[in-house]
């Protein structure tokens, strides 16, 4: 077989004008970006992506978003290279190779799992294919691009319209199929202030003026003084709130929630509630993590420029650079408190008369905390410096230096004060809509935050008090007494049954006991109540300082004792009322050993349905 060799043109034909390089760049950006978005979405649906990719939300908007980002980047790059590149006669082939390589790199990086060296080499190989493709007939190829660029733009627009319109239609269909709930069924608003530790809230005894609005809210209802999250990080804790199950039962943590138990939104939906989730935490609360189950509307991306930018391979790469450089992280994208409020309220105003179950999650006190200057100035002598502590894992600053700790603390408090003002604004909007009377409002958090205690920063590292103790406030005029404080221990896994019962859903699958009995006088101080928290083993290389790096941790806490059992380091016992910093481990004392044995048995009793994490290695159908 003899191959017919086509003569390679030495120069691009005369009718090729240099500015057509921009057309070529745009074409690669559009076509490649659409495919990149499709790959990213498909891989995330199949969960065949690295943790770092799974943990950032993706929905179908990624189709047009990555095309937009790639097009802009490629056109800018094309414009910069234009004077140099087009000097050479064979510029179309060279440009095709360049943008082909970049496009291929974008595709091959979408899983985040392939080895970088292989990705680069294969991208260069595909770039060479693009070179040969262009080299064979540059004029014809450029004509093809000229003709297809408008249809490609239309496809992007169509994707944008159909994704957003499709969501609305899907929601309308879902709502139309709901049964009609009984008259006077109340609304439910569940608010999670992500990462809010209880002891920084005024009504929990914090001396700084961080939470005037929450404190006023607390006076209108019930406050649980000793509430504990079932995990010290977002995904398992939210799943416990939604399912009423402990982390070892529901299985969400290292793996997304697989839907083995019905969620609050699913049950509320079945009982005729309009359900909406407006969620700022885009790291763990994407649909891919299973928390959106049962919600007719779920928004955890604003698809503003930050979100658009971070939904492409190159945008993510830049984001990582930016994050390292500016010591910043998530606030590049994700919704701010005003955005969460706005999206929730516009949903509220657009729905029909049926009762709603809404879930709001705010990220203002999650690191990186970036309080507005006005609030920073209220809590710090050096408000400008607060920005530098946004991501509280400083490389440049002495980690545990008192000066740095002060800044981190001020930043947290100032952010909390800002968030509190936004919650105040939200509650005011509810009042204006006459929704404050027939609505059960719950305000809590999914976990706390270490601000230097135990040498730790952030959360998901241990189960010490500061990482699991959260506020819990409930208000329901006429149904919940005003200004009542419940002193005993409560765990967030009891929220599901509490909410279902308060909303009139008597038959529900949630195992917890409704907390209603606790404020209606059923609590005696002699009752021994416990809350259980769990944290998976996280053997990831960057976390050596974290206790969970070395083994799984479980904790059980009563109104006096806090028992923590670490897979490798053994047992700790703290008298947390006396020792709120949990610095004195009493497990080795004579009395402590006896109590620890008793608490260990209590913990075991409550974890009977715990499963080994190995059994969860199988992906479950969604």
């Amino acid at each position: 077989m003899k191959q017919v060799k086509q003569p390679l043109p030495e120069r691009a034909p005369a009718n090729l004008r240099p500015h057509e390089l921009l057309l070529l760049a745009a074409w690669f950006g559009l076509a490649g970006g659409l495919l990149e978005g499709f790959f990213a979405w498909t891989l995330q649906q199949a969960r065949w992506v690295a943790w770092s990719r799974l943990s950032s939300s993706v929905d179908l908007n990624i189709l047009w978003a990555s095309a937009l980002v790639n097009t802009l980047l490629f056109v800018v790059l094309g414009a910069v290279l234009l004077p140099v590149l087009t000097r050479w006669g064979r510029w179309p082939a060279l440009a095709a190779a360049l943008f082909g390589t970049l496009t291929a790199y974008g595709w091959l990086s979408t899983s985040g799992r392939l080895r970088e060296r292989g990705v680069i080499m294969l991208s260069l190989g595909l770039g060479a294919v693009a070179w040969r493709w262009m080299e064979r007939a540059p004029a014809r190829r450029l004509t093809l691009m000229r003709r297809s660029v408008v249809p490609l733009v239309l496809i992007c627009l169509l994707a944008w319209v159909s994704v957003n319109g499709g969501e609305r239609i899907w929601e309308k269909v879902q709502v139309a199929r709901l049964p009609q709930p009984p008259a006077n069924t109340p609304n439910v608003l569940l608010i999670v202030l992500d990462t809010l530790r209880a002891d920084h809230v005024g009504s929990y005894g914090y001396p700084r003026p961080t939470t005037p609005n929450l404190d006023a809210f607390a006076k209108q209802g019930v406050l649980f003084e000793k509430t504990f999250a079932n995990a010290s990080w977002t995904l398992p804790s939210h799943t416990s709130i939604f399912t009423g199950r402990l982390p070892s039962e529901h299985g969400a943590g290292l793996w997304p929630y697989d839907g083995r138990f019905p969620t609050l939104a699913e049950i509320m939906s079945q009982h005729g509630f309009a359900t909406g989730g407006f969620v700022a935490n885009q790291l763990m609360c994407s649909a891919a993590f299973g928390l959106s189950r049962g919600f007719q509307r779920w928004k955890n991306l604003s698809w503003g420029w930050g979100d658009i930018f971070t939904h492409s391979t190159f945008g993510l790469k830049f984001h990582k650079l930016y994050r390292g450089y500016l010591n910043s992280y998530q606030n590049f994208s994700g919704m701010s408190a005003p955005e969460v409020n706005e999206r929730f309220l516009s949903w509220l105003d657009g729905r029909d008369a049926r009762p709603f179950f809404a879930f709001l999650n705010y990220m203002e006190v999650h690191e990186p905390t970036r309080p507005p200057r006005e609030f920073a100035a209220r809590f710090s002598d050096d408000p400008e410096a607060l920005d530098r502590t946004a991501w509280r894992k400083p490389q440049k600053y002495p980690y545990q230096s008192p000066g740095f700790r002060r800044l981190a603390l001020d930043s947290y408090d100032a952010s909390l004060a800002y968030l509190d003002s936004q919650i105040g604004a939200l509650l005011e909007e509810l009042r204006k809509r006459n929704l404050d009377q027939n609505t059960l409002v719950i305000i809590t958090s999914d976990h706390g935050e270490s601000l230097g205690e135990h040498g730790l920063d952030g959360h998901r590292s241990a189960l010490y008090l500061e990482q699991i103790r959260v506020p819990l406030l409930l208000r329901f005029p006429g149904r919940i007494p005003e200004n009542r404080r419940v002193p005993g221990v409560a765990g967030l896994q009891d929220l599901a049954s509490t909410i279902a019962e308060m909303a009139g859903v008597q038959k529900h699958p949630f195992p917890g006991v409704s907390l209603a009995s606790r404020w209606s006088g059923g609590e005696t101080s002699g009752d021994e109540l416990f809350a259980v928290s769990e944290l998976d083993h996280f053997p990831f290389s960057s976390l050596e300082k974290w206790p969970c790096y070395h083994g799984a941790i479980k904790s059980i806490i009563s109104s006096r004792w806090h028992y923590i059992s670490h897979q490798k380091f053994g047992v700790e016992l703290f008298d947390w009322n006396q020792d709120a910093q949990e610095t004195q481990n009493l497990a080795k004392t004579e009395e402590g050993a006896r109590i620890a044995a008793e608490y260990g048995a209590q913990l075991q009793k409550r974890l009977t349905s715990a499963q080994h994490s190995e059994q969860r290695l199988v992906a479950h159908p969604r």
């Binding site: 065949w48 690295a50 080895r115 292989g118 680069i120 294969l122």
Partner: protein
């Protein structure tokens, strides 16, 4: 550990495979030429073998 279910065992080899395929695509002409040479050499050998029988 942080990876999800899939052909996980092949992931560590993605660097090697990517490099091999990438180089093959870059020098595709040479690869084809090499293949052609190889097949013609094999054919000529088998023809030689037959003629000897």
């Amino acid at each position: 550990m942080i990876l999800y279910v899939g052909p996980d065992q092949l992931i560590p080899l993605s660097g090697v495979f990517g490099t091999i395929f990438g180089l093959a695509l870059m020098f595709w002409g040479k690869v084809l030429q090499g293949c052609r040479k190889l097949t013609s050499w094999l054919f000529s050998r088998s023809a030689e073998h037959k003629s000897q029988v």
